[in-house]
Symmetry: C2
Subunit: 517 residues, 2 copies
């Protein structure tokens, strides 16, 4: 060893001696026993902090939890050995069959999951409902199924004005029903076998998404269709063990064969009536509520009309129309700040429930919508994907318990995140953060009303350690953070507890039956 090197070697020791704190830190290591004790304490502290850690499990719940965790661990182990086989590391479209065959998914599907607080009016019911609606009398089309837009549809007693209209019944007969129905199925979802190449960017997938509406709208806005569609949606949510739905909608103008059009009020009345009818036959269903959410890509005059409607609905249906929001691709829409002055004129009793930060930009107008949403006093945040890039806002959200509506599958299909393990909610799950899991537009990606999102969140976003307590917490949060009135909320939670007990009891029986076989 050379002399200068020898001298340099002594330097750290000499330097250390001048700094007693460093001296202590550097000149002792704990014993293995102390180390492992300390580590154990740390792990315990971390575990106690996680979302759902405050839930106490009964003996029966503990049995179900053991079964649930055995299923979760099996999928984690397979994925850890070969990450390409790990469902949450892949695109939802590529693994949909695998998910549906997963016993973990099937268990989650059977589980009571509380409510859906973030979903949109025209993406509630599965595509088969649309297929069925195209069998209704008096439906016409013009144009073909080629391309992203698809044909133009319209219900009408006689051929609509203009050239090229044919009755769907005739087109279906000509092309064969199976082929026609497949074309409808394909047109009205974003499903694609090669999604990563088909949709290259968020703008790509959103432009397909927006194109879909143009064909879709005249089918569902036919008044009888709208009612069938909404009723079927409730049935599907119920079958997915969702007991409450708080959905956003644009209140489109409905029409019928007699050229009558329907006002926003009449559409709201229809929602209320269909819900009441559904509740009468399904007493475990807690109901629906509505958030009026017109398109954010609006000029001031249009926005002003929206606000007028919002005020009217608030006065007339204040317990059903529980909030106001603006929707559409956030990056391309106008930023919230441009609407702020107008929004501030609304009666303070109108709840804001804004979409904000559904983006992975950082420091651009889109993620900064979060600033306005929160300063405007939003009760919940739709998506809030970019929230963690604003730590001061994150603190405020925690402090004021503003609930963040996380939509995992939506965020992947709409190109915010590829691997669910990178979803920002993964961090939020580590503490008792005010959040719910929701599904946004489940029918557009062939997802069940809530189970697929719960499954992805549980397997791909939560910690490997998080268990049944997390799932129960997510269900309870969805009722707690709803905009139901307090009395309604209490009743819904009581109903949830009954359904949950039934589920636990039934599952324990199934586990024991399987063990005895």
């Amino acid at each position: 060893m050379s002399q200068p090197v020898m001298l340099l070697l002594l330097l750290p020791l000499l330097l250390t001696m001048g700094d007693s704190k460093m001296l202590i830190e550097r000149h002792s290591r704990p014993s293995p026993e102390a180390y492992h004790r300390h580590r154990e304490q740390f792990v315990q502290k971390e575990t106690n902090l996680a979302l759902g850690a405050d839930i106490q499990l009964t003996a029966n719940e503990t049995l179900v939890n053991e079964y649930l965790m055995s299923l979760k661990r099996a999928e984690l182990a397979e994925g850890f050995a070969d990450p390409y086989q790990f469902v949450p590391a892949r695109h939802f479209f590529q693994v949909l069959d695998k998910i549906n065959a997963s016993p973990l998914y099937q268990l989650i599907r059977r589980m009571p999951k509380g409510g859906v607080l973030h979903a949109h009016d025209t993406a509630l019911a599965g595509t088969e409902v649309i297929v069925q609606l195209t069998y209704e009398q008096h439906l016409w089309q013009r144009g073909t199924f080629n391309g992203w837009n698809g044909p133009e549809f319209l219900f009408s007693r006689n051929a609509p004005a203009g050239a090229g209209w044919e009755l769907v019944r005739d087109v279906r007969e000509r092309t064969g029903a199976d082929q026609y129905d497949d074309a409808v199925r394909h047109l009205f979802t974003l499903y694609d076998e090669d999604p990563l190449n088909t949709y290259k960017s968020i703008n790509d997938v959103w432009s397909r998404f927006t194109a879909m509406f143009f064909s879709f709208q005249p089918i569902v806005t036919y008044r009888p269709a709208w009612e069938i569609y909404f009723r079927e949606a409730l049935r599907q949510f119920y079958e997915d063990n969702v007991m409450y739905l708080e959905f956003r909608g644009v209140l489109p103008t409905l029409y019928d064969l007699d050229d009558k059009t329907y006002t926003p009020e009449e559409v709201v009345e229809m929602y209320i009536n269909v819900t009441e009818q559904f509740k009468a036959t399904h007493p475990q269903f807690a109901g629906t509520k509505f958030i009026y959410a017109p398109l954010r890509n609006a000029d001031n005059q249009t926005a002003d009309q929206y606000l007028t409607i919002a005020e009217r609905l608030h006065l007339q249906y204040g317990s059903y129309v529980v909030g106001f929001d603006l929707v559409g691709q956030e990056d391309l829409g106008r930023p919230l700040v441009e609407f702020a002055d107008m929004l501030l004129t609304l009666p303070p009793t109108i709840n804001f429930v804004f979409h904000a930060g559904e983006t992975n930009w950082h420091g651009m107008q889109t993620d900064e919508n979060l600033i306005d949403a929160i300063l405007l006093g939003t009760k919940r945040i739709g998506h809030g994907y970019a929230l963690q890039k604003h730590p001061l806002l994150l603190d405020e959200v925690r402090r004021r318990r503003i609930c963040v509506e996380i939509n995992p599958v939506s965020n992947q299909v709409l190109k915010l995140v590829a691997d669910y393990r990178n979803h920002p909610a993964s961090v939020l799950f580590t503490t008792d953060f005010p959040l719910v899991i929701s599904s946004d537009d489940p029918s557009f990606w062939r997802a069940t009303p809530l189970s697929h999102d719960f499954y992805i969140a549980f397997l791909g976003i939560a910690s490997a350690h998080q268990d049944l307590r997390l799932l129960k917490k997510l269900a309870l949060n969805s009722l707690h953070y709803s905009l139901m009135a307090d009395g309604e909320k209490e009743a819904a939670i009581a109903q949830f507890e009954r359904s949950w007990s039934d589920f636990i009891e039934l599952t324990v029986e199934q586990i024991q039956a399987a063990q005895n076989r």
Copy 2:
């Protein structure tokens, strides 16, 4: 409106009246003036919090900053309009030419960037250096360039034992030098034109990554080659405006034509000598230091040998061999906790500088390596990609100012993240978090020693608002969090300030010259 609906409508008002706090919150909205003033204050507070916000710019720096931000904003605007054109949203291999042509990248390349604190011994110098090394006399090969492993190489005066060996000189002559050199270039980087399909998972890309070493190792571990390689690496780092290198290495056994093998001590001596020679001709270069980092996939006996070497090197070269680490794909290697008892026996003056949490698993052994790294007292964390999934650890890291070494391009190429805007460092950049940007294995992905990572971090990870102050802060952090002794550190920072001033002056001249043209 039905009667029950009418009654429900009154509920929120009735409920509100019982809660005076809610009454206040719900029954007033701020005036537009108050709102915008409040918003402005909030934005200012957020801005002041960000990484680099404590840096004060001189008048000349402000000029350079304006130019820098005009380049950044142009790329952001292009990307916001069409996200598929936004470089950080794409795979590095697909946009490498576009980056190299970017004026923003070119400016960052010219900028003094401080030191590299996270890089590995055999991935420092660009592939052209390897191509040149295959021109050295006495290099033999057997096997072909087909497949991921490539041929076996060996330097030897005579044909090595076994069948099938040929002199590289002869193979090159037969296949044509251009084609041969291209095959070498292809073999020794992960570069691929269709990276998303070629590497389907983290295990895929790591197995290719590991395979590379088998061919690669016997070329560079030839003693004369090792020295050339290291010298060339220093030259390339210097040309990239990196002034200091603190690198990890396995200290492989070197060999020469006379069957002599070289001890770890001799390899360290070589590093020291080459560095001293380089500094003599490049006085602005602050030097190199070494972190001994053998493979984590080791049984206890092997690990024990590593620790013995670590102790020996610490005693003999304590000011040059400044730390200990364990390397290799974390998911597949043994977790740190299994080494804890052994590691605790090391003298407390040996710094730990552990890789930990280079994973997107959550609650698995890999991300929990972070617990052990931090409880074992690591001085810095290599990657820490999963750190935010452990908020208690994150607090501890902040409190103890444990520096996290972020390697953006590495994390994408090695399949942790697809879109850089989702990189967890994006959140860390919003506060004065102890972090540095580094490059890990730049030559394996055809990256420059540090400029590509700086560019990606600045454009794709940082906020759109973050500017020259962030870049200067990152450079200063890289010296501040190095394991140089205090005196060395002060000298390095003083030298950095001089180089920085020169860069600013020169850039101002260039800007003014361009304006006058």
